[in-house]
């Protein structure tokens, strides 16, 4: 289910792209494939398709489809990926190559009259144990001769768990509300900044149905509080160093009522090696504190209200380093690609559950985009 966040990231990127380019966007198609591989035996291969079509001077509609072919020990081996290397079973009728395939279509529409831009849409995703449904809306108002833009974005998801392994949950819903307020300001012809405040509210079954705490005297599935309220403040900037170099940077501070707080720093340098080819390097650092209910491994008591064993409830840092590539063909078509390497710091919860000291992952993207 954590892969849902990949989808949300993808949707956010889609919205960002539309927000930024709405008035100049043309009828276009892009298709590609993304991949994710980590050392906890999770692999995801994701063909993607996105179609944008202007239906009038102001209106544009879009459709995207992402299919995630997922191989994961946690699905294949019965929840505890680090504990089981293989499963012996009766001959099946037809074993699939992938453990799960998720289909995630998104539909959206955008209105843009040059001063007001409104986008809205919906997405749906279906996987072996989880149905995700969401609607989203984003409004941006241009001010000050388009040197300033203010925006509001709202997304509401209505998700449903359907866990495998006959696991009965106290509740099966997971709803999330996210509201963003943003201000964009062109500081100079070569420098623009964006400030964003985000409010996030989650309710329902918020832990994994499969992770469990196993001690000498305790065997309990994870159980988190039923609600979570988070706030985030972010600053993003784009700075054109010269005609061939640009820098993107951002900082985000997050905190919530589970006492998790985090800092995220992104920095990316892009260089035009020619009129056709752009590449660069990017770096991301993330650090978070632990939740107020996670306890040291082996120290839970049977009457504790909450049980957590997922490392994302503990304190950890992570680093990502990546290289993006953009190649523009003479026809105007564009090929974009990227490769990123991700690594967390050593963490005893990762060691306990996955049997490795830290999570390392490689994710790649490749897409081809053309106008029609």
């Amino acid at each position: 289910m954590s892969l849902k966040y990949l989808l949300i990231s993808f949707m956010s990127l889609l919205l960002l792209e539309v927000s930024t380019l709405a008035s100049s966007i043309k009828d276009s198609v892009s298709f590609g494939v993304n991949s994710y591989n980590d050392n906890a035996d999770v692999q995801v291969y994701s063909p993607t398709l996105a179609l944008f079509k202007k239906v009038s001077h102001e209106w544009m509609v879009g459709f995207s489809m992402r299919i995630d072919a997922i191989s994961a020990a946690s699905i294949r081996n019965g929840a505890n990926a680090g504990h089981v290397d293989a499963v012996t079973a009766a001959s099946s009728t037809e074993d699939a190559l992938y453990d799960d395939i998720r289909y995630a279509p998104t539909v959206m529409a955008t209105y843009d009259d040059g001063e007001n831009m409104l986008s809205f849409g919906a997405y749906y995703s279906s996987e072996i144990d989880y149905i995700g449904k969401a609607v989203f809306m984003n409004y941006v108002r241009q001010l000050n001769e388009q040197n300033t833009a203010i925006g509001i974005g709202i997304a509401q998801s209505f998700d449903t768990w359907n866990p495998v392994y006959d696991r009965e949950l106290p509740k099966d819903n997971r709803n999330e509300t996210k509201i963003d307020f943003s201000v964009n300001q062109l500081i100079s012809p070569t420098f623009s900044m964006q400030a964003i405040y985000s409010y996030m509210y989650s309710e329902g079954f918020l832990s994994s149905p499969y992770h469990y705490v196993l001690q000498d005297n305790i065997a309990k599935f994870e159980n988190y509080p039923d609600t979570r309220v988070g706030h985030a403040f972010a600053l993003k900037g784009v700075y054109l160093l010269d005609s061939a170099n640009a820098m993107n940077f951002s900082y985000r501070y997050y905190f919530d009522d589970w006492d998790i707080s985090s800092h995220t720093v992104n920095i990316e340098e892009l260089h035009d090696f020619s009129s056709k080819f752009t590449s660069g390097i990017r770096f991301r650092y993330y650090t978070q504190t632990k939740s107020n209910f996670v306890q040291d491994i082996g120290s839970y008591q049977v009457n504790d209200a909450y049980f957590a064993t997922d490392y994302r409830m503990s304190a950890f840092d992570s680093y990502t380093i990546g290289i993006p590539f953009i190649y523009r063909l003479d026809s105007g078509d564009k090929v974009t690609a990227s490769i990123d390497y991700y690594q967390t710091t050593d963490n005893e919860y990762i060691q306990s559950w996955y049997g490795v000291n830290n999570i390392t992952a490689v994710f790649t993207t490749l897409s081809y985009e053309f106008d029609f």
Binding site: N37, D38, N39, A40, D41, V42, Q43, S71, N77, G78, A79, H83, V84, D85, A86, V87, T88, A89, A90, S91, S92, T93, E94, D95, A96, L97, V164, Y165, D166, Y212, A219, F221, T360, V362
Partner: protein, 306 residues
């Protein structure tokens, strides 16, 4: 298979093949290529396969085979003789010819059809002469579904060892062979999507094979795919049987799993001693029988408590 692991995962023989070993990727792909070649040779669904040619020429003429190809025919016949036909590779007349397990045309045959086809199941009419294989009766069919995956697991393990592997796990659709490292092998629970137990291995070679009624059947588990050759019907002694043995002989274990599935509980001890294997048998009431575990060199078996 993860980018980070020295392994390979692919779909072969309508099942998952997973190989993890400390050998080069090239060696892993060579093992995969071998398994694809095996599938092309012994597939019951490919009319160009050697197996189908032997079946098509039943009662007509022998088919010439290479020494390598002959090995599986010989092993299957040996197991049939050792089990007095409880395991019988000529069960194809029933499993493929009548029921059509694995085909779109799968159906439940009539009693009359079963009794007629049952006469075509007789390993004594499988003739292996030097480099020729021959089924004596027209209509006879070989089906290596009860031995083929185990044989592939053995061959891959042997190949990895010749290439210098000092640790490996090979999983051919649940037929599992390991050596050189401690592995945790889970046994699927026949009554849920979860697992029933974990066999914790030591570094010494170990094989595990499972047969059960809960995956392949027509309409209901009552019509599962493991047929009793003597009656042409299904037995319901167990929902799942798992066979474990130190050493690398998945071919034997694959066949023994079929034999145990068609043998009532009172004979479990005899079979475990005859073949030198340990047995975990799950019956419909939920009871679990363990047999001959003292013979096993493993760290232990952990039953899931959750």
């Amino acid at each position: 298979m993860s980018f980070f692991e020295n392994g390979i995962k692919a779909k072969v023989m309508s099942t998952q093949l997973i190989i993890e070993a400390n050998v080069s990727k090239k060696t892993l792909f060579e093992a995969l290529e071998w398994s694809k070649k095996f599938e092309a040779t012994f597939s019951a669904y490919n009319e160009e396969s050697l197996l189908c040619k032997v079946n098509q020429n039943a009662g007509l003429k022998p088919i010439i085979c290479s020494d390598e190809e002959l090995e599986l025919f010989t092993k299957a016949l040996d197991m049939a003789e050792a089990s007095d036909g409880v395991f019988d590779p000529t069960v194809g007349a029933l499993s493929q010819g009548l029921y059509g397990f694995g085909k779109k045309s799968a159906k439940i045959p009539t009693y009359k059809e079963l009794q007629s086809a049952r006469k075509l199941v007789n390993y004594k009419n499988l003739i292996i002469n030097h480099k020729e294989v021959y089924l004596k009766e027209k209509g006879m069919k070989l089906d290596f579904g009860g031995i083929g995956k185990g044989y592939v697991a053995d061959k891959i393990i042997n190949y990895l060892q010749t290439k210098g592997a000092t640790k490996a796990l090979v999983n051919v659709g649940g037929e599992i062979a390991t050596f050189g490292k401690r592995y945790n092998i889970a046994l699927k629970d026949p009554y849920s999507k979860g697992n029933l137990a974990i066999v914790k291995t030591l570094q010494s070679p170990l094989c595990i094979s499972t047969s059960g009624d809960y995956e392949r059947f027509i309409a209901s588990k009552k019509n599962h795919h493991i047929l009793d050759n003597k009656t042409a019907k299904q037995n319901h002694y167990y929902s799942s049987v798992t066979i474990i043995q130190n050493g690398i002989d998945c071919t034997l274990l694959d066949a023994v799993a079929t034999i145990v599935f068609n043998t009532s509980q009172e004979f479990l001890k005899d079979i475990s001693q005859k073949y030198g294997v340990a047995i975990i048998a799950v019956v419909e009431s939920g009871e679990i029988y363990f047999e001959n575990f003292k013979s096993l060199n493993i760290e232990g078996v952990e039953l899931f408590a959750l």
